[in-house]
Amino acid sequence: MKFRHGVQGVKLDQQKELSLKHKIKNLPMADELPLKPNFNLNGKKDYNYILNAAQKSQIVDEFDGIPLDKKLKKLRGLKPNMIVACCFDEDPWTTSAMAVLREYTAEVISGLEYAAKACGIKERKIAVATKEEAKFIKSINSEAELILAGDRYPARVLLKKKLYSQNIKAFYIGAQACLALDSAVKEGKVQQDTVVTVAGRGVERWSNVKVPLGTELKTVLKFCGVSDKTKMIITGSSLTGKAVLDLTEPVTPSTRCIIAIKKAKKDISYPCIGCEKCASACVRSIVPWKILKVMKNKKPDPLMLTNVQKCIGCQACSVVCPSGIDLAEVVKKAADLKKSGDFE
């Protein structure tokens, strides 16, 4: 029985406008990067053809970093009844998925169609965050079949839960993977570039940039006017992403955003005040403060660590905690403890 709370997840402060103001910019290819030649495939555009194209074009899904052809193959066995293109950005600073959908609406739709064909799914949907976005996309291309993921973080999980409760077994694919699949099937193109959002106080021009894969982060940052006072560079997501120390790291399909932060993070935490915010933020029915309390014991009782194994590490709990406690870490530790079976 679910008595505790109606809405789950967190509403985060969105910082999307600045990077959505302009169209996607193109970053020229660096000389030392190899240009990958197109491939040729013959035959009808059926299941095998699409899978081959996905494999040859080396597409990687930007949401989970898994090669698309593997994903599609696995899916054919699982037989889901809906395929959803994730065109919303959970991260409050990132807009790359939305920007791609906005500028390549037709391509994303047709890429999604190919993916659906490859795994034999009839129902296809494009997921966007809000009603306004849906209206806007409809005005660009009325063919788009949209569903709303909502603007609460983690939107992907919340959408999953919503569909699951309607008995829909859905499968999720990134917007950029759709786009790449479309050009692979139609033109035999290998995935060469990816759109990343560059944002944060440390850069002058917040924008979405189409970056050739393998470009060094510092080239992208320079392109957007990075300030010398930048203290931290984050890629992936401002919640679950990682801080980068080496700016020669290449851009990969799962980079999605590069955030430059001017203020270094202060790690001050206070004791838990029992505000329950963490529990209402968690989408996996974990009550992080209770876990925290149990884990403070010398010998935590594993029976009291309810649900910890279900944690997806979304960091929603850590973000909302006014005391600044790293709850996601605590829950992870608890899950490790429960898994290890080392209770005595």
Binding site: K161, I259, C272
Partner: protein
Amino acid sequence: MILNYAKGPFIKNVPTIPSMMRDVIFTLSVLLIIPIVQYGVRPLVMAVCTMFVSVICEIIFNLIQGNKIGAGDGSSLVTGLMIVMLMPVNAPIWLPCMAAVFAVIVAKMPFGAFGHTPFNPAAAGVAFAALCYPHLVFRYIDSSAKNLPAFGDCTGDIVSSTAAVLKNGLKPSILPLDMLWGAFEGPLGTTGILIICAGGLYLFIKRTANWEITAAFLAAALIIAAFWPRIECSMITSVKYELLSGSLLFCSVFMVTDPVTSPRTKPAKIAYGFICGVLVMVFRRFGAFEQGACFALLIANALAPQIDVIFSGSFETGDVLYEK
């Protein structure tokens, strides 16, 4: 460019503890404005002294315990300021200071400082002062007094506060407009009804305080005031005087909403607010003093963990299914 490493999340949602403390201190300071306009600098001096004393006490305690002197979460300032708000303006300066010493040294630090206190420290401090010096805590100077001395004793007519008039079963006579602006006798920071409401709204909107507790608290007080009035008058008049006199409204906004001492789940919070409201009215009617909000709050604090268990324990046993 020198890059730092840190672990996610890299963003923070408001409110945070420092921002919550800032909000509360800000709203409490705004409450000081009317008394300062009315009585001169004395309320300000009282507030500064008490806050100073509470911070000093916290530092001394930390030194004795060998703790690091805290990063300054500001909770002592809030405690000090709240105590001042619940004192009459003509109380000697040492009275709120002593209450603050008790609050910090006895009710707060031994339990492990902020975040671990079972009782609201400010309420404990005021309750202590009220028990030891009832003749000072419940002695109000006429609200028309002007320019009180900053430090020394106040001379002026001593009158009964609205709450005391009610306690004696009489009907206070205050113009409604005076009531809203706080031109009547009562604890220093609790008479500016309009400002308390505005401050409460601000805290609720910023999500620093929980509106559910306040609503339940006021609802309980309202029901009791309407159906079991202490004085001979219409329902509305009784509600008006009960809710607007004494420290009831102030407590409902600033003290019962304290997240540390209130229960955690929403239904438990509502029950807690309600119980607290009922207790306040019971204390007002049967208690020895004209005001019982602090005592009621302390009892409700003691009940809070049990309320929590009752409301969360029965509804959440074992794993909650993910799909539902």
